[in-house]
């Protein structure tokens, strides 16, 4: 069975034989950089098509079906359109910050890719503080949005950015606490070790009720953090026309758009890693033969399957729910989600100490 780590191993071996170790490392870095950018482009295209398809399915309409077979090239055509559009900077805007903001949004999304384990032994950077790194970097994304809103010199943008700031900062807490639930159970911040700890069952099954609570809170919190409906108050097209990116056009808008989709992918990947076992196949305790059969499915398919299942959930929310009001949104976080997740973390700690989990 082919797997990513074999390919990576072959490339690594060849580079080290051909060049000295320093150059080999540099080339590896370049290759990884190119791969990440490629992955970005592919994910952007796939997720946009997927969103439109899911929307069409829920809304009883056709969706894109003209460009390419079954409309699969639609998002590629959209990209070309956005590339050739004029990138405008409004008069009175802070030009430097205005143009910098989309790149910061993109940069954050790129940095977040580093610790994610895409398949067995296939990770850009296997760092021992993976979880901490993810929560730290993801909180930087709010700077890009605030920058965009402030620099646009537009009242709608400013309000969208302020809402977004309040929202992202608040929901970081719940998301962080629910991530911590799994860290407490595993005893490790390393994402790869977290995946390995689920070899005898995913945490959502092993940790039963408290972890299911943590998982639900995680989904709600990350939906809010990525500014997706029903928590898309930063954009809220009926109230703020388009929120923080009202003044952006062409490729600068596309970068925000892409960053949003990549963020959705990343949070879903983290969720899948922590709660659904990442690339770990579906294993049940010590059923050796059953586990062995499950191992025949490549680990990358398990990982992407779980991630896309979560992405589908988040898309489903978007096309079903109406939007909350900003004060209701903050109430939900501070009065309900945060106390529940604080109590939940106590419960999980007790569970970890007393060994109540499987």
């Amino acid at each position: 069975m082919w797997s990513f780590n074999k390919i990576a191993g072959i490339v690594d071996q060849w580079l080290n034989q051909t060049f000295n170790p320093t150059w080999a490392l540099v080339f590896e870095m370049v290759i990884v950089g190119v791969c990440v950018i490629g992955l970005f482009a592919v994910l952007g295209l796939v997720l946009v098509i997927m969103e439109r398809r899911v929307a069409a399915w829920i809304q009883i309409r056709l969706g894109p079906n003209r460009v390419g077979p079954k409309g699969m090239l639609q998002s590629l055509a959209d990209t070309v359109k956005l590339l050739v559009k004029e990138g405008m900077t409004p008069a009175g805007a802070d030009k430097f910050l205005f143009n910098l903001a989309p790149y910061i949004a993109m940069m954050v999304a790129m940095l977040l890719m580093a610790p994610i384990a895409f398949a067995k032994d296939f990770q850009i950077w296997n760092m021992n503080i993976g979880v901490l790194y993810v929560s730290a970097i993801s909180s930087v994304s709010v700077i890009g949005i605030l920058m965009a809103g402030w620099a646009s010199n537009n009242k709608y943008s400013l309000m969208g950015a302020m809402r977004s700031g309040a929202q992202i900062v608040s929901y970081e807490l719940s998301a962080g606490l629910s991530i911590l639930a799994v860290v407490v159970l595993t005893g490790s911040l390393n994402l790869n070790e977290i995946v390995l700890s689920q070899a005898d069952g995913w945490w959502i099954f092993k940790g039963h009720i408290p972890v299911i609570i943590a998982f639900i809170i995680f989904i709600i919190a990350v939906t809010a953090e990525t500014n997706r409906a029903p928590f898309d108050l930063a954009e809220a097209e009926s109230e703020l026309t388009a929120g923080f990116h009202t003044e952006y056009s062409g490729m600068k808008f596309a970068l925000f758009f892409l960053a949003e989709y990549i963020n959705v992918f990343i949070v879903c990947a983290i969720g899948a890693t922590l709660f659904l076992g990442g690339w770990m196949p579906f294993h049940i305790g010590h059923w050796e033969s059953f586990n062995h059969i499950m191992d025949y499915v490549p680990s990358s398919i398990w990982f992407f399957g779980k991630t896309f299942f979560m992405i589908f959930l988040i898309m489903w929310f978007r096309w079903t729910f109406p939007r909350l009001r900003i004060d209701q949104l903050l109430n939900l976080e501070w009065k309900y989600l945060l106390p529940i997740s604080m109590f939940n973390i106590l419960l999980i700690t007790a569970m970890a100490i007393l060994g109540w989990h499987f």
Binding site: Q59, S238, F321, P322, R325
Partner: protein, 371 residues
């Protein structure tokens, strides 16, 4: 800071919602004074699509001016036409054949359902839910097809003429309407599952945009907006026109006076409309569909006023005649204009996000406001 509400002070954020804003459904322009996200004051600026329809009507004959009214409240075209036809008939004292009366009521109620369908979808979209919009249009399409067959138009119908209706029903009319009734009864339960029962939706609607019965009367609100505050005002019940007096249906009333009450009024009203259609669809009397009238009508000297209940409220037609072939003066009393005037009163002190929800429940049609 309650005392500040209603005034503009230094440092307040003044934003323009509309004319091209997605939530203004056309060309409404609202100048909003905000303190943070709290609304202090709203000034609607009208006139963006003013076409001076009332002035235009003065140069059109009594048969012609009815066509113009379909272009005002284009979602209640039939009902507007009905009001105009009634006014001319009142002046000329024309007897309308029984068949025409039944056809008119059937068309009115189908129009009311179509209008409320569109309102339901658009309002859900104002709240950020896209899916209901498409679902509502699916059912509305069935009505549009029925209309297209009989009246030849899908939006601005011109079917009612003084003395009856322009032409007879399409042979498929009865069958298609019966099919629609079955479809609609199933779908309206789906609407409740998708939107009405949703906890986010209820939190957004309940207690928002409250208007007391006294204030609602004082602002001249009518239709679902006034009935949401618990005031009985259905023209079909209190001043029955056509054959509404003989029909069996309820006037829908809610007492909460908030956005959710206005929402529920329209949802329940659609069910009542279906009830009316069910009573009539099997009992369309045979006979003429239009009374014999002269080619050019001349109203006797005097003033005539008739009113009907459109999907948005009371629509009145006031004609001053000097005995000629064209009206001397015409004034339309449109429901949207009065309902909009209450928006400032409702919205003060609530959040910007609520404004959109409130505007949705007023069910504004801009050409109805800017005549």
């Amino acid at each position: 800071m309650v005392e500040e509400i209603g005034t503009t002070t230094e440092g307040d954020l003044i934003i323009n919602v509309g004319p091209q804003h997605p939530a203004t459904h056309g060309v409404l322009h609202l100048v909003i004074t905000l303190n943070g996200e709290t609304i202090k004051k709203i000034e609607p600026h009208l006139g963006y699509i003013h076409r001076s329809i009332e002035k235009m009507c003065e140069s059109l004959t009594y048969r012609q001016f009815i066509y113009v009214t379909s272009r005002m409240d284009y979602l209640s075209a039939h009902i507007n036409n009905h009001a105009c036809a009634l006014c001319v008939e009142k002046g000329m004292q024309i007897e309308v054949p029984a068949r025409a009366e039944v056809i008119r009521v059937l068309m009115d109620e189908l129009t009311r359902i179509a209008s409320h369908e569109l309102w339901w979808g658009a309002m859900a979209m104002d709240l950020g839910a896209f899916t209901p919009f498409f679902h509502a249009f699916r059912e509305r399409e069935a009505i549009n097809e029925i209309m297209e067959e009989t009246c030849g138009a899908r939006l601005t119908m011109n079917y009612m003429v003084p003395g009856g209706v322009m032409q007879d029903l399409h042979p498929d009319f009865q069958r298609k309407v019966k099919e629609f009734i079955i479809l609609f009864k199933r779908k309206i339960d789906e609407y409740d599952e998708l939107v009405t029962g949703n906890i986010i939706f209820q939190n957004r609607m309940k207690g928002i945009g409250y208007i007391s019965p006294e204030d609602a009367i004082a602002y001249g609100c009518s239709g679902p907006v006034l009935r949401g505050s618990g005031v009985s005002c259905d023209v079909r019940k209190i001043y029955p026109y056509g054959i509404y007096g003989q029909l069996n249906f309820e006037e829908v009333l809610e007492t909460a006076g908030d956005s959710f009450a206005r929402y529920m009024i329209r949802i329940r009203e659609m069910k009542q409309s279906i009830r009316i259609i069910e009573q009539l669809i099997d009992n369309i009397p045979e006979g003429d569909f239009v009374a014999k009238t002269k080619a050019v009508l001349k109203l006797p000297k005097g003033e005539f006023y008739t009113r009907v209940e459109t999907a948005r409220g009371e629509f009145g037609v006031y004609i001053v005649s000097e005995g000629g072939t064209t009206p001397y003066r015409i004034k339309f009393r449109s429901p949207g204009f009065s309902n909009l005037s209450a928006l400032d009163h409702m919205a003060r002190g609530s959040k910007l996000g609520d404004l959109v929800a409130m505007m949705g429940t007023l069910d504004l049609v801009i050409p109805d406001i800017d005549r």
